[in-house]
């Protein structure tokens, strides 16, 4: 294993351009999991991002929230303004691992890892986040909702570094995040739902329901239509238009669909008069 330690973004992207098989490493909380057994990783070159001070911290710009790629869950939890403007970021951050992971794990790493069960990605996508990708070729900005093209496959090319995540400063009404894990803490989501009511309509994001985290356009359309929903079961077909959850070690496809429907139904009945 070799580790490169660039100190500027220019250096870092130059390295990635010269060695596209090199792997960026931020908190390492995904990359180091089961390390002793992932022998194939031991031969690789890693690009340690920890010295890229330019990627640290978050700032507000024209009302938008811009998180540098090294922003951790803990950084977000310490920021009260985020708690007011984007409360789902706090709610998700508090449920990621425990304090050790929250202080080391980064939002960009969560995006970069691309797990279909990533809690951070779900709430970022609900807030319509934009991913800033930088390479020697220039800067690309990709909406997170279009970022993933398949299981752990994204638009990021190997020479690109995620440099920032930007959340548009829009006022939201209802904001809901549900994480269903096999226990109350330190659990990987079996089902996650992040949804917000934006000026342009509902945004509904499902995690652990498909090979990627994704927007549920059919569910959004039903919610936007304002038609009453008679029961959780009435949502099953709509959900299945959006996602096709599988049986795996953590749960069953059937459970996932039914519980997602029940979460939507029960969580929204307080918010939408039409449901009662």
């Amino acid at each position: 294993m070799s580790v490169l330690r660039p100190t500027t973004i220019d250096e870092a992207v130059a390295v990635l351009s010269a060695q596209p098989e090199a792997i960026p490493i931020a908190g390492g909380t995904d990359l180091m999991v089961h390390w002793p057994h992932r022998l194939e990783l031991h031969e690789k070159t890693f690009v340690d991002l920890s010295r890229l001070t330019a990627l640290r911290g978050l700032r507000w710009q024209d009302g938008d929230l811009v998180m540098g790629a090294l922003t951790t869950y803990w950084d977000v939890l310490l920021d009260e303004q985020i708690g007011r403007r984007f409360p789902l970021l706090h709610r998700a951050a508090r449920q990621v691992g425990a304090v050790q992971i929250q202080t080391r794990g980064t939002w960009a790493g969560n995006v970069g890892n691309g797990s279909p069960a990533a809690d951070g990605v779900a709430v970022l996508m609900a807030y319509d986040a934009m991913v800033e990708l930088t390479s020697v070729r220039g800067v690309d900005v990709v909406p997170l909702r279009d970022f993933y093209t398949g299981y752990k496959i994204s638009h990021r090319t190997p020479d690109q570094l995620i440099t920032a995540i930007r959340l548009p400063g829009i006022p939201y009404r209802t904001q809901i995040f549900e994480k269903v894990g096999a226990r109350k803490a330190q659990a990987i989501s079996k089902i996650g739902v992040a949804m917000v009511e934006a000026p342009g309509g509902w945004v509904v994001v499902a995690n652990s329901m498909a090979p990627t985290i994704r927007r549920c356009r059919a569910v959004e359309a039903v919610l936007n239509s304002g038609h009453p929903i008679s029961s959780p079961e009435a949502l099953h077909d709509t959900i299945l238009q959006d996602v096709h959850p599988i049986d795996d070690l953590r749960s069953t496809g059937e459970y996932r669909v039914r519980v997602m429907a029940r979460l939507l139904y029960h969580d929204l009945r307080e918010h939408i008069a039409a449901f009662s």
Binding site: A182, K184, L249, S251, Y255, V259, H266, D267
Partner: protein, 733 residues
């Protein structure tokens, strides 16, 4: 006089990270070892292929041909090979061992070895009768069959107007001790010395002597500080020790064989899965008229301890109730999965879950409160258990139940839940109850057979050393023995050392299992103290400095002498047990308990939260309140895990979720306040009146929680674990 309180003696070393576990020991020149395992559930080994890409000359390689003695892990039976020779019976069965200076090289090497197997039909469901091609043990794959008969249940059931039936199942459970299995072996001057994580040094000693063909004095087993065990380090370490020794002998150097978590989860023993059917004749007032019980255990691929797990499960299967007519039929059967083994409770949690869930079914059927059904049937002094043992210990069992009801506010909660469940669309609350018992010590004549011995040495400086084979594994042996010896001789705790269990030093006080340590071995520690005093010609009034001074004086007149007080087990009077008929005194003493759980079920997710837990028990005199409460709280937490989330997932008899990300144990956020209360009825033959405690708290949570879930939702709640997925299917019925 209660014993003076004492903090856990090894507590600070553990809290501060200074404790040295086996993997922390710095043994110069030690190689690492690793185990190459079967990837087939059953078959004949055709070939073992070593990938030529690897330079095998740098590895120490061991297979069955390197076993100098008998190629078995000796326990009740000798059916389990130390290393598979011609046939494998489960995935992860050890076949080849490797040693090398580098752990990484070993991990690579394991992947470069293929064990080629011609498959044979495997048994993957222990509840289905095997076909002839699947037979691997005796004529029927049954490791052990037991029947317990009291009265004539069959004829009562034949004429009974009300019969309540039910089938209950429980799943496997992993011990998840924090420290995985591990041993270091080396040969020094012709003696094989094995250090490692274990509960029972003399079990390991016997097994190693047997497999290595060595005399007792050529093998020395030393327990290292053990980071949890729960039964998982009762019999399993014997195999690890044999493996480490085989590698060390072939390497001519020390070898360290320490499992990592994924290997430990995949390859080690687990709690026996169970299947229980109850048919019960009841009177309309809830009185039990006849109980007919069938109890099946999945033994896995080798016998290990299954016969005795079955035995304990069956003795507890009828519950702590009086019934004149009981018939219990039980079998432990083979399947081609990793062998199941000892786990806290040892069969009783399984059978008690069934009977206690069934008691609530009976109550429901009769329209009675579950409390009433239990009050009507709880054993009273003078009545007999399923094996005909007369209960006469003076324990107020009705009082235990009442205390649990009042501490949990049972009656009022039932009312508030009724209203809550009407008012709340997406949540349901319920409260559940269980009354149960747990026999302490070995079953029947087991303690006589163990023939336990303890020594207390008086040292030249006037201090003493307690020498037993009973191990500290987090439960408090060291602290309790210190308290007992210090109290007995009036010496300060600092003047009492507890010898690290080492078969070259300590006598065999039996295995550290079956909730026997404080009660039985603790008593022997007291007797050894008395014997020491006798040897010093002191009488019982001589304490403290008089004792220390007498010890020093003895050594002045006996330079280099060995001053040993001895304790030797003698059974209490009136204990009679017939192994053939399963009649008699199954246990010298029972702990009794009443537990209450309050739950909330989220109807959106089918997830269960335990809101409150009350655990009331009589375990005789409590020797150390902090430790005792810790045992109960820990047992309840482990029980909550088994009940709600811990599930081994299987494919071809191998665990597929062998990582702690996917094998889910409870976190502190999943555990409610656990309110513990003791009623103390001294047991005259236990140390200071103590009875067994360690296993009892594992028995209660499952039925209490399942009964609470049933009360909340109307679920059957008959299959554990009650994961949200399973509860969803249950409520769909």
């Amino acid at each position: 006089m209660p014993l003076a309180p004492l903090l856990r003696r090894e507590g600070l070393a553990k809290l501060s990270g200074r404790e040295q576990y086996v993997d922390d020991l710095d043994i110069p020149g030690a190689l690492h070892g690793i185990t190459v395992r079967s990837t087939s559930a059953r078959g004949t080994i055709r070939n073992i292929r070593f990938d030529p890409e690897i330079d095998w000359s740098s590895f120490v390689i061991v297979d069955h041909r390197d076993v100098p003695g008998l190629n078995t892990v000796k326990l009740i039976e000798t059916d389990q090979p130390a290393l598979a020779a011609t046939e494998v019976r489960h995935i992860h069965e050890p076949v080849v061992l490797l040693a090398h200076p580098s752990r990484r090289a070993l991990r690579k090497a394991v992947r470069a070895i293929t064990i080629e197997v011609d498959p044979l039909p495997s048994v993957l469901d222990f509840t289905v009768r095997p076909t002839p091609e699947q037979i691997q043990h005796g004529s029927d794959n049954i490791y052990k069959q037991i029947t317990i008969t009291k009265g004539d249940a069959r004829s009562i059931l034949a004429d009974a107007p009300i019969i309540v039936e039910g089938v209950y199942r429980t799943g496997a459970q992993e011990h998840v001790y924090l420290e995985p299995q591990g041993m270091i072996a080396e040969e020094v001057d012709g003696v094989i010395i094995i250090r490692g994580s274990m509960q029972c040094p003399y079990y390991v000693h016997t097994a190693v002597c047997h497999a290595l063909g060595r005399e007792a004095d050529q093998v020395r087993i030393i327990q290292t500080p053990t980071g949890g065990a729960f039964g998982g380090k009762e019999e399993f370490p014997s195999g690890v020790a044999i493996h480490a020794a085989l590698l060390a002998l072939k390497a001519g150097r020390p070898v360290r064989l320490v499992y990592d978590r994924t290997e430990d989860l995949a390859a080690t023993t687990k709690r026996h899965p169970s299947w229980t059917r109850h048919r019960t004749a009841v009177a309309s007032d809830g009185q039990l008229l006849a109980q007919e019980i069938t109890f099946l255990l999945d033994g896995g691929a080798y016998m290990t301890l299954s016969p005795v797990v079955l035995s304990r499960g069956m003795i507890h299967a009828a519950g702590p109730y009086h019934c004149e007519h009981i018939s219990i039929d039980g079998r432990a059967v083979l399947s081609n999965t990793v062998p199941f083994g000892a786990f806290r409770g040892f069969g009783a949690p399984q059978s008690l879950f069934a009977v206690e869930r069934h008691m609530d079914r009976i109550a429901l059927r009769l329209g009675l409160d579950p409390v009433t059904v239990r009050q009507r049937n709880l054993l009273a002094d003078g009545q007999t258990t399923a094996t005909g043992q007369v209960v006469a210990d003076g324990v107020d069992r009705q009082g235990l139940l009442n205390r649990a009801l009042s501490l949990s506010d049972y009656a009022a909660k039932r009312e508030t839940h009724r209203q809550f469940n009407i008012d709340t669309p997406d949540r349901r609350r319920g409260i559940g109850l269980t009354t149960f018992f747990h026999g302490a010590g070995f079953t029947g004549s087991g303690e006589v057979y163990l023939d336990s011995k303890v020594a207390v040495a008086g040292l030249p400086d006037g201090t003493i050393e307690v020498r037993t084979a009973s191990t500290e594994m987090g439960q408090g042996t060291t602290t309790i023995f210190t308290q007992l010896a210090s109290d007995r001789l009036g010496l300060p705790p600092e003047a009492v050392a507890i010898a690290q269990p080492d078969t070259a030093v300590v006598p065999n006080s039996g295995p550290t299992v079956a909730s026997r340590t404080a009660m039985i071995v603790g008593r022997l520690v007291q007797e050894a103290c008395d014997d020491l005093r006798r040897q010093l010609s002191l009488d019982a009034t001589d304490r403290g400095n008089d004792v220390a001074e007498a010890i020093r004086a003895w050594h002045r007149t006996h330079p280099n002498g060995l001053l040993l007080g001895q304790g030797h087990y003698r059974p209490p009077p009136g204990i009679e047990w017939d192994e053939g008929t399963y009649r008699g005194e199954a246990y010298g003493a029972y702990g009794w308990a009443a537990y209450v759980a309050e739950v909330e079920v989220d109807l959106r997710t089918y997830g269960t939260t335990v809101l409150d837990f009350v655990a009331v028990q009589d375990v005789g005199t409590v020797l150390n309140t902090t430790l005792a409460r810790g045992q109960v709280q820990g047992g309840v937490a482990q029980g909550i895990g088994w009940t709600l989330m811990e599930e081994c997932q299987w494919e071809d008899g191998a665990m597929t979720n062998n990582q702690l990300t996917n094998y889910i144990i409870p976190t502190s956020s999943d555990i409610p306040p656990i309110r513990v209360a003791f009623q103390e009825t001294p047991y005259p033959h236990g140390a200071e009146g103590a009875k067994g405690l360690g296993e009892l708290p594992m028995d209660g949570p499952a039925p209490a929680i399942a009964n609470a879930i049933a009360a909340a939702t109307g679920a059957e709640a008959a299959v554990l674990p009650l994961t949200p997925e399973r509860l969803m299917a249950d409520l769909d019925r």
